[in-house]
Subunit: 335 residues, 3 copies
């Protein structure tokens, strides 16, 4: 069992301890459920009222929130960040011993670093390379000409179809599919033909890619994620999209082909972004919004509608069908 005192954590992470620094902590918990040997945190003001009744051995929070609290406190400028760092000390680390599982099927032309881990039922195709310390969990399929950079982890059942190059410390969750053929079709005499998708996928260092997320390979050039892009589950990235560094997307977002998204953007859940447009740096898109043209100014953007009881919604939605006519009947301001 891992044990740290509040004082030792404060020293390690540059925090200020207030109260009993000798309290011994064995793990983390929520404000509502943590016991006297656990560390909790307060970052979302929504949960501030839980401070009065918490039994946590210590709480990470901002100085302003700590006023009047009598328990042990670790003061942090950003309590969530501090908590994340401390929590990593207590987190269980699954065993992934170096070596190749005897069931794995590795093409003779592939390279696997001596200290990489390759799990059960992993297939690795021709000319692919798994670099130092990388982990390829059970059931992954790596096609031809892929690179898994040093320290990267494919948790389990990840597919890299072909020409997918991952940087270092990339983590990919189960069910994700990178490098599938982009959706490129052309109508020829009443029948679709495929446009060959000869590009690849390039993923920068420290990216994190969620479960069942898809990143298609490019039609000619590559689909690109710069470093530290964070994708939640069920995200779709079309061929030749480009996602700038440090951009984060929540579950269910779809980005169509050849869209170019800037750095430090935040795209909330189920937003849709059309193809062949540009979004500049530091744009926030709220949930379920539809983006159909370029955005050239940082800021927060939205579409979608708020929830109503069904009767009210029906009446309003019926009016929307005639909004233009209604608008024409409104007297002009200048009349």
């Amino acid at each position: 069992m891992t044990t740290h005192t509040a004082a030792s954590l404060a020293e390690r992470f540059g925090l200020t301890v207030r109260g009993d620094g000798n309290v011994a902590l064995h793990g983390v918990g929520t404000l509502a459920e943590a016991g006297p040997d656990q560390l909790a945190f307060l970052a979302n003001p929504k949960y501030r009222n839980q401070l009065a009744s918490t039994r946590a051995g210590a709480v990470v929070m901002k100085e302003a929130d700590a006023e009047g609290y009598e328990g042990t406190v670790l003061l942090a400028r950003d309590p969530y960040v501090a908590f994340a760092r401390i929590s990593a000390l207590f987190a269980p680390i699954p065993e992934r011993a170096p070596g190749i599982h005897p069931s794995a099927s590795i093409d003779p032309s592939a390279e696997v670093a001596a200290d990489a881990h390759v799990g059960a039922f992993v297939a690795v195709g021709a000319r692919s390379r798994i670099e130092a310390g990388a982990v390829v969990g059970p059931g992954c399929v790596i096609g031809e000409d892929c690179v898994i950079g040093a320290g990267s982890e494919l948790v389990a059942r990840v597919t890299l179809v072909t020409r997918v190059r991952l940087g270092q410390r990339v983590r990919i969750h189960p069910g994700a599919v990178l490098g599938a053929a982009g959706f490129g079709i052309a109508m020829d005499n009443g029948h679709w033909i495929n446009v060959p998708q000869v590009g690849g996928v390039v993923i920068g260092d420290d990216c994190d890619i969620g479960a069942n997320t898809c990143i298609d390979r490019g039609a000619i050039e590559d689909t690109v994620l710069e470093e530290d892009v964070r994708l939640d589950n069920h995200i779709q990235i079309g061929h030749n999209a480009f996602i700038g560094a440090h951009t984060a997307m929540a579950g269910g977002v779809a980005v169509a082909g050849s869209a170019r998204i800037g750095r430090y953007c935040m795209i909330a859940g189920m937003a849709g972004i059309a193809g062949h447009l540009e979004i500049c740096d530091r744009v926030v898109i709220t949930a379920m919004s539809m983006v159909t043209s370029s955005i050239r100014e940082p800021g927060e953007y939205s579409s979608g509608l708020p929830l109503m009881d069904n009767r009210t919604w029906r009446r309003n939605a019926a009016r929307f069908r005639h909004l233009d006519e209604l608008a024409r009947r409104i007297p002009r301001a200048d009349k």
Copy 2:
């Protein structure tokens, strides 16, 4: 070939037979396509006009619908339920013999009940347990510290990442991923860091989880589905969400982290539910709605817009951009 007479089915399921009870039935069919040796049903009034021409050997329906119909009828208060129960008698049951496929890779510390079925290319991690009569189909990956309760079925290619505990008679369809790390990130000096996700996932008895659905593990405490929750395909359940018993969600719904949803709710397809909110019991959300705040009254709720021809839609949508200005120009009722 399984054969039942209409009369024997009536007796078995407490229904009333009208017409020829000796008709022999070998299977089920739709009203439009069933033959004289098949049972059909009428539940959706949309299909009532098919009754006149059906060739079905017998039809399950409500008494009110049976008036004037001359064929054999099984009268039921709830024809859909009665049909479901009867249909199960005829349904083909795939062979899943007890035992562990020789290709499976089972950690020495894992436990597998003698009468459980473990299919080809299944990996089971440390300290996981597969209970009596459970079926783990081909290609599943079970990580560390998981439990698959008695009589549960993982159809094929399901991933339980870590700390996922399934109750009894849970069924999970292919491609589903339970227990992946929740999307917990904190921005630290311009770079994202991961917040360790040390919780697990708890799934109650009789839950059904659709293909390619994702249920992330909790950040600190567990993500929870109570008993008899029914999730369709492509659903996303964020970390620490709580879904009450008997709630059903159609395809493509996303529930963000720490949302708490009540019992007997019905969430239609592609609805989005924001995080850190509560929805009470018996709430119905219509398709593609966006829920961004708590719902405290049972009832039906909606957002979204109805379909229009593109020209009309363009005009109306353009007006929506200025709806607030337009509204200000409308004369007050009291003027």
Copy 3:
């Protein structure tokens, strides 16, 4: 390295060459990036301005666009189609030698054509058949009673659960799940029961099915895709849906159960289509639209809202809550 001259390509594909027909081409590139030994194309007028600076050895385009361009041109009525055909000559073709990988697990009652390819860790269930020249990539799971038609390709990690019959030259991308039990449930005394899903899935010739897409099997009859249907990633097709030939759907579309969609329809990304309705041939649905009733006229249809800055959106959305009341206050045109 494959090499073709512009003149030989023109002859092969019935195009007209203008400029130096002897230019040797080794591959394809974009207008912006192609070098003197690569072929580029111009189809989207958005990229016409790149013509002035392109270094491409030859460019496929329409005659109208070629005016004033001094480089080598391949004139085509449909440059995108011509490019697609030419590009296929240069595209790398992964090696898929005939034969069954030694790790594969094939039920004794299954049939595999001698020249089919079955990859590592593939499981094939009872009575399934893999026809001539078909490719079943690594990690696929084929259940009972499935057919994989001649020349079809399951790229990797595809699941056909049961009773899935694929036509010829069907391609299915990783993570797709066909034939999972449809979402058929009935409420019986406060508890859900499953309605057995005894139908199958039928996929016509030349269909293309995207990564992580799901096509559920029918409740009684089959779920059907006619020939040449093109589905992008993350699409959900509910039980007993019917999709007409040559219809294409972009990423994230969901089609609920028993919907019937015509031929040559185009459904843009993240649109939702309710169940038990009909859409006629040649309907276009724009992105994120919601279709809740039948469409009987060809044409383009939309719902959804355009993006706004968040402040403006908040004001407009708040007004939408009261749109019906507002409308009642607008003076009638005839007053």
